[in-house]
Symmetry: C2
Subunit: 256 residues, 2 copies
Amino acid sequence: MYSKVAIVGAGNVAWHLFQAFADVGLEVNQWLSRSTPSEHFSSVSLSPQSIESLDSDADLVFLAVADDAVAQVSARIPKNFKGLVVHTSGAVSMDKLADHLRYGVFYPLQTFSKGNSVDYSQVPVFIEANHKPDAQNLAELGKKVFSKERVTFLNSEKRKNLHVAAVFVCNFVNHMYTLGAEIMEAGDMDFDLLRPLIEETAQKIQHQHPFNAQTGPARRGDQKVINAHLDFLNSWNEEEDIYRLVTESIIRRNGK
Amino acid sequence: MYSKVAIVGAGNVAWHLFQAFADVGLEVNQWLSRSTPSEHFSSVSLSPQSIESLDSDADLVFLAVADDAVAQVSARIPKNFKGLVVHTSGAVSMDKLADHLRYGVFYPLQTFSKGNSVDYSQVPVFIEANHKPDAQNLAELGKKVFSKERVTFLNSEKRKNLHVAAVFVCNFVNHMYTLGAEIMEAGDMDFDLLRPLIEETAQKIQHQHPFNAQTGPARRGDQKVINAHLDFLNSWNEEEDIYRLVTESIIRRNGK
């Protein structure tokens, strides 16, 4: 498929790429990173080199760097480089790599923290490339390293929808967990008591549309309970505003 | 423990109480309901009677009715009733039952939809009663029917914290799923592509505090991506406001 693969970066995505490749027995041949990698990278047997050391005959380079570093790092790869240059970001347009001969996007959709074990066979991957054969090959690689069923060709425009949606269902959801934890802690209760509810809430929508899974005072239009909750949150900061706004947003969809 | 149990109501909680009791082989002796029960209740062998038919020698009555119906239904039980009267609501103060000799709260914390199967052995229960022996007995029952490890005595004041926190981590989380689904559908993409991310986001906090699990542009303080997302959401309704508010709330906690 690809015989010489390089990974650029020492962040969450780079770490998980190394893990995912190792899990399916695929070799990574070069590691390029400016920053000093965290202890988690001790499992990687390569030593990080500067981007200028990129082998000219590498056939695939992953730019697994911060979104706003993609363009800078890309500019340090020679323009006559013959391999395929891809970034791994949900938020960066493919055009940022258009100085190269062959370029693309290989975006695995997951909440990656270093050292956190992930079932890679369930991770969807979104592919884009300026040449069709490269897109096909990236898709093959995606199926091998990540989810067999969920490799999707997606242009940069639609990737915007995907990325914003992911922020809602992952980062914003996690922030709701954080706010829940703070409210529990203010009542001297352990966040642990909420964990079964959190798990069931996520499980419930694995087989139905979330709109149909909704319960609670806003869905019931129970203004008495809503008012009592707003009273309770009166002394809190943004929690009251978030409660009000999300409740209104749920109510607006009631009866649809 | 209790030899004659009655359940009042034909909603989500009533249905799950029947299921949970049946699962551990405990009998429910009477079913009281004004409204015509949904088809899901065909698994219940009892016929619904009016609340006035409550056996005077019942020793435990669950008022599994809508929050704002607790007081009215309670008023229809004779004041000299000798059994224990409990409601199952997170939002209603125990005092609403104070006309009775023995009263309390038995609040199983879960997102209950009728017909949805739930692992009851994982469901936490929160107990309150005006007499200590009743609280003890309810706790014993809670351990038998729901989670062995997560039966907690909780007064009505703290139950407010719990209930508001539950709205954040369940109803509001589910609404983030709904908004994510809408954003995907606007890009002709299937919500299914988000399901692995949703599952991992919930799994991640089963063993760590959600604050430490956060990732994404707001946690990184990546204003460029945030602005691009706000531009994208410019033509949407409340999504832009929710995005802005939740992002600010995450950023406010960065570096803490």
